[in-house]
Subunit: 380 residues, 2 copies
């Protein structure tokens, strides 16, 4: 049984004080329905990917379903920190493969900015170990700063290489009308910005954001019946790693990403070199460099150099929609947003950032500071 | 492909200041592993059912997996308010049916009481509509009080009938060494207790609690290979309903329960009269009375009378482990706890509360005030 995506929707990411969470969910929902050419009554289950702790309204799946007019169909929420909506897609894949549903709405949504920044930082930090690490002052950026320092020490990776990731992603973000930041930056912009957690500068970090993205996921029969351009989910990998850095043997890699990608490659019967386009989880620039290595795009230690190969025309164009870095990172929405980017590319609908002839795409969605990783592979 | 349960574990419910969330998860985990006769390395995915908003530690699935020694296997959390861990079982069923995993740990866990009572009440209330209803003073008990008033007005149901549910469930709770309250009560205990939300007395309400429960869920081959007494998941139904009471046409029923049970009965190819034993979501006594009707155990309006048929020896013995009412209701754990109760009964291991010859069991797990309902049917 193949599982396909026949509809996509994506809100504008950024500060969205203009909408409630329900209204924010409505935007990509309607777009995805129209894109798939179906009605809301055709949907027979909804899986919401979101991190509940940012919201005043508790148990948001219910309110969203009501607002979208989807009762009495089943709905629930999946949570794995920043990989919540990749897990929602994984769940939908399972439900459809099992024959339990035929047409599922997968929707990632998050409004972070209605909380004061100090509160958002506190919530982010609480995805680290509150018992044994937080008392020593860990914030979320600190974790990635430790990865960056470790990568620099071990492989000689430089601040300029980190900055190059930001430059690339803002370059492509400038072409994405839904991105939070649609502006090119230079290496100086990054290196001269203030230090957030050494060695990471402000421009090495993605921004908290509000946003949503939606997918219409269907079984093989419906895909062929309803769409001329279904995009197939051809490989799925998911893995976990210790969330306490105390217990990780190595800080310059995310072992969950290594494990998850192996499983996904095996299922999809492809190798890293077969990937035409990738969306990776660049919550910090170091994260994208680790992703190149963890996913096997390049050798271990060579991630810093690979960024030049991650432009269109390079070996594996990566984060061509701007990535978390330029799009913004509304935690629960990011997993779906990555898939929307890949689906557009595989359909050949990515406009001026189209990768010619892209046939196989990959998403790499990390939860927390690597305690979860979900990798999906897609094909035309 | 059949999906079976071959291992169960259940912590003591109540005030559990003696353990962290991770330690609380460990208790039923070890018990379920031993019960299934497997090792932790045999588990190839974990689904946690919990409501994240009660916890200081964010994204608890990661910390739990690390503590249980389950890395690098995939893990995530499912949330649908009080039905979070029924949804976790539904997810596991799909993953196994789809052939994505063979042996899954489903674990429901919640520590509510580390929060001050005022905070718990606030969190509970926030599962109602914070935009349009909470400003008018709705608390969680208020919703069920409105259902109770509606049921009384429409069908003449009495406070004594509500109280009879509490008396029955405490009667059986007194036989359950893991229940929060192991003490019989009388009708006077209920009727003379203070009003929480009219017409509901204190003893019409279940108690917030800490607790956990775990299931080892496997595919047909593993079930037959590893267990002499696998219990099969033979029907699964899930449905939603508007969470705003404003938009519900009727308050004396939960339409999500009606829908979910229809689907489950159809899949299991059974009728309500075939059910030998049920665990229903008695967060308030009125909820159990509505459940009798919504599940088709009795005619609409006759729920108040049916409680006499819900004892052992009656038509459908219900909440024979004490229900939420006497066991306590650790939100995320309740769905799994209900399943543990049914599995024990179908195995014939329920001791002095055994229902002789029970072959078909049902769980009815409501999320929020009915915006979600998950119904499972089990057979020997």
């Amino acid at each position: 049984m193949k599982v396909g995506i026949i509809g996509i929707g994506h809100s504008r990411f950024g500060r969205r004080d203009d909408v409630t969470v329900q209204e924010l969910a409505f935007e990509p929902f309607v777009e995805a329905l129209n894109d798939a050419g179906i009605q809301r009554k055709d949907i027979d289950a909804t899986i919401i990917g979101a991190s509940p702790v940012y919201m005043t309204q508790r148990s948001i799946a219910g309110p969203i379903t009501e607002y979208l007019g989807l009762n009495p169909q089943p709905v629930w929420l999946t949570e794995a920190a920043c990989s919540s909506s990749a897990v929602a897609l994984r769940t939908a894949y399972a439900l459809i493969s099992a024959g339990m549903h035929e047409i599922i709405l997968v929707l990632g949504v998050q409004k972070m900015l209605e909380n004061p920044t100090s509160e958002v930082l506190k919530i982010m930090g609480r995805s680290g170990d509150v018992q044994w690490e937080a008392p020593y002052g860990t914030t979320f950026a600190n974790y990635y700063a430790m990865y960056a320092n470790s990568h620099m020490a071990k492989y000689g990776t430089t601040s300029e290489q980190f900055a190059a990731v930001a430059v690339k992603n803002h370059h492509y973000g400038a072409m994405n009308p839904l991105a939070m930041f649609q502006k090119e930056i230079t290496m100086e912009t990054v290196l001269e910005s203030r230090i957030i957690a050494s060695p990471l500068h402000l421009f090495d970090c993605c921004a908290n954001a509000d946003g949503s993205a939606a997918l219409v996921v269907v079984n093989e029969e419906k895909a062929n019946q309803l769409s001329d351009t279904p995009i197939w989910v051809s490989g799925l990998g998911a893995a976990s790693a210790p969330f306490s850095l105390l217990t990780r043997p190595e800080l310059a890699t995310l072992s969950s990403a290594v494990e998850a990608s192996k499983i996904a490659y095996t299922q999809a019967k492809v190798h890293p070199s077969d990937i035409d386009i990738a969306e990776v989880h660049d919550c910090f620039t170091i994260a994208e460099i680790m992703a190149y290595e963890d996913l096997g795009f390049t050798e271990r230690g060579k991630g810093g150099e690979f960024v030049e190969e991650a432009y269109i025309g390079g070996k594996i164009p990566t984060n061509i929609d701007g990535g978390l870095k330029a799009k913004g990172h509304p935690v629960g929405a990011t997993g779906c947003s990555q898939v929307v980017g890949i689906v557009k590319q595989l359909r050949g609908e990515a406009g001026k950032s189209q990768v010619d002839g892209a046939e196989i795409g990959l998403t790499h969605n990390v939860g927390g500071h690597g305690q979860y990783c979900v990798v999906h592979i897609f094909s035309r």
